[in-house]
């Protein structure tokens, strides 16, 4: 490795990508000043809402897009100047199914084996291993169009792994996949992790983010924070109380008004309140709600999950930046 920093396989420095949006030609910043270092063998999860810049980030790191400014070195190679050489070292699985629907499982794999110049006995070994890995042996002669969503994703992953890349980039690989296949897919990713492959995966699911060694939270084109799941959860200021009131909407207003409450989030019938001291605040909150005629079915201290941490981290940002930016973003096609 030409890298000076030991073990770092991805180093991004101030990556920015600005798109000219059609038809009016307005400039849209999809990724802004993203700096990131990923070590060998890590599983980095990129989470964030739609339009946060996850896909653009992956496309910048896989040299599919040129950054407007900033640089990135992946596998020790510059993504702009050494893009061609880089392609031997990385695998990429786009968000939408990008294989040939009219070709069979075998033919799709064969095509990518040809493209990467795989031949001889090694080719057969790898194809068989990946088919076993992805449990697709029984479907070798089936056309890709006739595979289920989950099988298509696994085939795409197999094609992306054929050349044994050091780093694999996956863009929302489990979106639209049933829960069982989703779990299987993650088992495969963790298997790769154990083999020492570096994995960068974007996902809208927080439970998947929890399985990563590190999580990058993206919001409005920025990487807000990038750390281990545990560290991110610790960043949340205060302690968390989970409340189950009879009327969530009424209770939200009441709890927000109670002194010492930093933040309130709603999750269906649940109300999550961040307070300085859980033990001290719990009876006060219950009393406030019941005093206002809202029954409380359950109230207990809780451990913040990534989801709470994420919302807690992005909330000050979104308030600060105001509505204009939000509106601008809503119209942006996913890039």
């Amino acid at each position: 490795m030409k890298d000076e920093t030991s073990g770092a396989v991805i180093q991004a420095e101030g990556l920015t990508k600005v798109f000219r949006r059609r038809p009016h030609g307005a400039m849209v910043t999809a990724v802004e000043g993203l700096s990131l270092t990923v070590g060998r063998g890590e599983v980095l999860g990129l989470v964030g809402p739609d339009g946060a810049g996850k896909t653009t980030t992956l496309r910048l790191l896989t040299a599919l897009l040129r950054p407007t400014s900033g640089t990135a070195r992946v596998a020790g190679l510059d993504t702009v100047r050494q893009a061609a050489a880089l392609k031997q070292h990385i695998g990429y699985m786009p968000q939408t199914f990008s294989l040939y629907r009219d070709l069979t499982v075998d033919e799709n794999l064969g095509f990518f084996a040809d493209v990467f110049g795989l031949g001889g006995p090694e080719r057969k070994v790898r194809v068989d291993r990946l088919l076993g890995f992805s449990r697709l042996e029984a479907f070798r002669t089936r056309r890709a169009a006739q595979l289920s969503g989950g099988m298509q994703k696994k085939l795409a992953l197999a094609c992306a792994l054929l050349h044994q890349p050091e780093i694999v980039f996956l863009d929302e690989p489990t979106t639209g996949v049933d829960p069982v296949s989703r779990r299987e897919f993650w088992d495969i990713l963790l298997e790769l992790h154990l083999q020492g492959v570096t994995v960068v995966v974007s996902t809208p699911y927080m439970d998947e983010a929890e399985r990563c060694t590190r999580v990058g939270l993206m919001y409005q084109g920025r990487l807000m924070v990038c750390d281990t799941p545990a560290a991110i959860k610790n960043m949340v200021e205060g302690q968390l109380l989970a409340l189950r009131p009879a009327d969530v909407r009424a209770a939200e207003a009441i709890v927000q008004a109670v002194p010492g409450v930093r933040e309130v989030q709603t999750y269906g019938e649940l109300l999550h309140a961040f307070v300085d001291d859980a033990a001290e605040a719990l009876p006060r909150l219950v009393a406030a709600m019941e005093g206002a005629g809202v029954a409380v079915h359950d109230a207990r201290p809780a451990r913040p999950r990534l989801e709470e941490a994420f919302i807690s981290l992005v909330r000050p940002q979104s308030v600060e930046q105001g509505k204009t930016r939000m509106e601008e973003r809503e119209g942006t096609a996913k890039t």
């Binding site: 061609a84 990429y92 939408t96 040939y100 070709l103 493209v115 094609c159």
Partner: protein
């Protein structure tokens, strides 16, 4: 490099095989075109239906009518009783011309050696009318020569006079199919390759498979060449199909060298593939690519001189036709097939294609590379 090229070509062949209906249409379309253009788009007249109004009813008049019938240009569809009836048939389209032999035709002919007949032609289709007019004149003249010979007791050949003997070279029977079929080869070479090249590339983008390709070591030149190669093969098979039908069914003679024909066709393919790639860079969908291909095909066919001879056009339209690659191809194909000419006679056209091809292909490649980013 070659391995990756082959990977793409192989994959593209699989796409073609997976879609047998499209493949069937590719090979069926020239047959339809050949049938339409070989039979229907002909301006040759053969057994044109005419009506005869014979007021004379003598041996002489019957002789003339028989000469018309025997010419094979005309078919005596009806015998009219009056001029009004004959006019009605021409109006109604039942016959395209009418031969009116006036009373006294036979008598005049015997007495003075001169007589007149009327030949009425439906001029609504100028091409047919001209042909019918020429044919009628010809029949009349042949009859006159015979008359002179019998009256003077000499053969016309020994009579004094200037004998103009027109000889039509290359297409002696002046059959339109001989003109059309080489043209169809040009159309196949342009239209098919442009259409299928642009579709194949746009499909890759439309179905987003391009995204997966771009993270592989495939270079854009490999992608373009690899994808178009199978369609070049298909285009050549279709050309051979058209040639075979032309020769064995329509009796089109191939006087020149088939290898030269195919080589120069390949040269033209550089241009039409380039146009296809160019179209693919500006089209967002396969539908758009299809429309754009049609848009380029029509001016090509007309301005290239497929139907109408370029020499008859106003100067400015002729000038424009120099910018249409099809013009050169058609001269080459018709030259080789009908005249049997070789490279020395065609060097201007070959030079033009040598300029057009790389120009279009370079432009296309530049645009293609940009579009990928």
């Amino acid at each position: 490099m070659l391995k990756r090229l082959w990977a793409i070509t192989h994959k593209e062949f699989l796409h073609i095989i997976r879609d047998p209906r499209t493949l069937g249409i590719i090979f069926l379309m020239p047959i339809v075109q050949l049938t339409l253009l070989g039979y229907a788009a002909t301006t040759d007249i053969e057994y044109l239906p005419i009506a005869v109004l014979d007021w004379d009813r003598t041996a002489q008049s019957r002789g003339l009518v028989e000469a018309f019938r025997a010419s094979a240009y005309f078919r005596l569809a009806r015998a009219a009783e009056s001029e009004a009836q004959l006019a009605g048939w021409i109006e109604g389209g039942q016959v395209r011309a009418g031969l009116i032999v006036p009373a006294g035709f036979g008598r005049d002919l015997l007495k003075t050696g001169r007589a007149q007949v009327a030949f009425v032609i439906d001029g609504s289709d100028p091409a047919v009318a001209t042909a019918a007019y020429q044919a009628a004149l010809g029949v009349g003249q042949a009859q006159s020569v015979q008359l002179i010979e019998t009256r003077l007791g000499v053969s016309a050949a020994s009579a004094p006079g200037i004998d103009v003997r027109p000889r039509v070279w290359y297409n002696p029977e002046m059959k339109s199919t001989n003109f059309m079929i080489p043209g169809i080869i040009g159309m196949v070479l342009q239209f098919f390759t442009t259409l299928f090249t642009s579709l194949a590339i746009v499909r890759e983008r439309e179905q987003n498979t391009i995204e997966q390709l771009l993270v592989t070591p495939i270079r854009s030149i490999e992608l373009v060449v690899g994808k178009t190669l199978p369609y070049v093969v298909v285009a050549f098979l279709v050309v051979l199909e058209v040639l075979a039908i032309g020769v064995w069914w329509f009796g089109v003679p191939i006087r020149g060298s088939v290898p030269l024909l195919l080589t120069l066709s390949a040269l033209f393919l550089v241009t039409s593939l380039g146009i296809g790639i160019l179209i693919s860079t500006v089209s967002k969908s396969q539908q758009e690519a299809m429309f754009l291909t049609f848009l380029t095909a029509f001016p090509s066919i007309f301005l290239g001189g497929f139907f109408f001879p370029i020499d008859a056009w106003p100067w400015w339209l002729q000038a424009i036709s120099y910018a249409v690659p099809m013009r050169y191809l058609l001269i080459i194909i018709r030259g080789i097939i009908l005249k049997g000419v070789g490279l020395p006679a065609l060097w201007e056209q070959v030079a033009a294609l040598c300029i057009f091809g790389p120009l279009v292909l370079t432009l296309a490649s530049v645009r293609f590379a940009k579009r990928l980013e």
